[in-house]
Amino acid sequence: MAYSDKVLDHYNNPRNVGSLDKSSADVGTGMVGAPECGDVMKLQIKVNPATGIIDEAKFKTFGCGSAIASSSLATEWLKGKTVDEALTIKNTDIVNELALPPVKIHCSVLAEDAIKAAITDYKTKKGVAVEAGALAVH
């Protein structure tokens, strides 16, 4: 199977690889997927308490090249957004940006889930009520 140039670029030069301090009050962590399904994504955001803007985003992904690219792209998009803006990122945006073929759409879905899981974690820590349905389960 041929990969799009953008998937190859993210795979070869993944953006924002790493981990943030899970226990920090300003950090939200989302971990989605399962090893036996062949993909696990960990996505973390760090929100600036003064501005409410995500100023750091990190990921680590076990999965195929498209899964790595989807989460790498997600961290790029998250930076500079408010938490509520971040919730508007849709898996279809990732599919379009990376030109993912149909068999790889689940990678983008997983990335969207990871974003939502990270934000839910952050909001829970802040004591903000989490609206129902924010954490999609597939």
């Binding site: 997927g33 090893p35 076990f62 999965g63 689940h106």
Partner: protein, 405 residues
């Protein structure tokens, strides 16, 4: 750096040996007769080529020339063996025994026979990839007509205890078929010593052309009979009609002769290269597991799981090397290899596996290069892997509550 991409996928297919190509060429444009044409020189020279090939194949596997039936490849040989026996021996019984790790050409044939009223037993394999002989013994009933167990597996290279299997079959009066596609020409295979009644082979796995193969059908002790699965001119002792593919058959014969000449030396050479590849990788990386028995294994096969790294992403990183992965994230099914699952490896390790298949044209220089690239890419991907991070933190991944997906 060696010229890329390096071909380490010799279980999928092999390069045709240039000596084999030379043998084939005259049969396209000079000796292009039909081997069944009995009344002119074109026919005679084609027939001569076919009979020579029959002898070359027979010699490699310890058979007689008359016991070789030419087919279009091992898929056809397997279909013919299973369906041909089921039909021919229907009065004796309807039960066939095979194994969970067989090639699809076997498993889909048995599925077909199940629909037609046959009963099929799929033996599980042990953790090393071999069947349990006691389970085989227990599975045989008075309705059993055939046991079909592959000689060597195409993914993990594990060699089955063929002599012991055939002994059990003989004691119980059951025919024994083996899909020996990966074994013939690679390790010693002898239908007499191994007690084989039917055996499938294909040319393209032993440095011959694609689209030609053979089925060995025993003629004495017992004389095996088959119901033809294709109707026509009654070629090949009536078991397989169709004008013979003379150039390819000549190629298959030549390929077998070369394998026979080089077998002992090549086994040693490939075993050395495989071990070098394995040892280099395992000395540089932790959490690497060999799938299947190392002791009972084809010399050119290495199937390993790199824990916490997904197979397809690994293939993407070593894209200058042609290998295959047990993770089928590339297919629509997202299912990991059923062979690795049958070993009880766990889906996570199946997703992390790579099959290296070394062959005649691979060199030590290539092995060094491949080992280095694999080590480099696995390290990079583990830096990216949340699972490897958790493992390093001492978290037991089997106890983690993963989100349903």
């Amino acid at each position: 750096m060696p010229k890329a991409p390096i071909y380490f996928d010799n279980h999928a297919t092999t390069k045709v040996d240039p000596r084999v190509v030379q043998t084939m060429l005259p049969y396209f444009t000079e000796h292009y007769g039909n081997a069944a044409s009995r009344n002119h020189a074109y026919g005679w020279s084609a027939e001569e080529a076919v009979e020579k090939a029959r002898k070359q194949i027979a010699s490699l596997i310890g058979a007689t020339a008359k016991e070789i039936i030419f087919t279009s490849g091992a898929t056809e040989s397997n279909n013919l063996a299973l369906k041909g026996v089921a039909e021919m021996y229907a009065e004796k019984g309807n039960h066939i025994i095979t194994a969970a790790t067989e090639h699809k050409a076997i498993l889909d044939s048995t599925k077909h026979l199940e629909k037609q009223g046959c009963r099929i037993t799929y033996l599980p394999v042990m953790a090393d990839g071999r069947i349990d002989l006691d389970m085989l013994r227990d599975a045989i009933t008075d309705k059993t007509i055939l046991v079909s167990i592959m000689y060597a597996n195409n993914e993990i290279g594990v060699v089955q205890p063929v002599k012991e299997i055939s002994k059990i079959c003989k004691e119980r009066g059951v025919l024994f078929h083996t899909d020996a596609v990966q074994a013939v020409g690679k390790i010693p295979v002898n239908v007499m010593e191994d007690g084989i009644d039917l055996m499938s082979i294909t040319a393209h796995k032993l440095y011959g052309p694609k689209g030609v193969g053979a089925l060995y059908v025993r003629r004495k002790g017992p004389r095996v009979q088959l119901a033809a699965q294709m109707d026509g001119g009654g070629h090949e002792r009536g078991m397989r009609s169709g004008t013979l593919n003379v150039p390819s058959i000549a190629g298959l014969g030549a390929a077998c002769e070369l394998c026979q000449q080089e077998l002992t030396a090549e086994m040693k050479r490939l075993g050395f290269l495989r071990d070098k590849l394995k040892n280099k990788i395992m000395s540089e990386l932790d959490e690497v597991y060999v799938n299947g028995s190392l002791e009972h294994r084809l010399p050119g096969n290495l199937n390993i799981s790199f824990a916490y790294v997904e197979g397809e992403s690994l293939l993407m990183g070593i894209n200058d090397i042609a290998v295959s992965s047990g993770s089928a994230c590339t297919s629509a099914t997202l299912e990991p290899s059923y062979v690795l699952k049958a070993l009880g490896a766990g889906d996570d390790l199946a997703h992390s596996s790579i099959r290296f298949g070394l062959g005649r044209f691979n060199t030590e220089e290539e092995v060094d290069y491949v080992a280095g690239r694999v080590i480099e890419v696995v390290k990079k991907l583990r830096d990216l892997s949340p699972l490897y991070e958790m493992f390093k933190e001492g978290i037991d991944l089997s106890k983690v509550q993963w989100t349903a997906h």
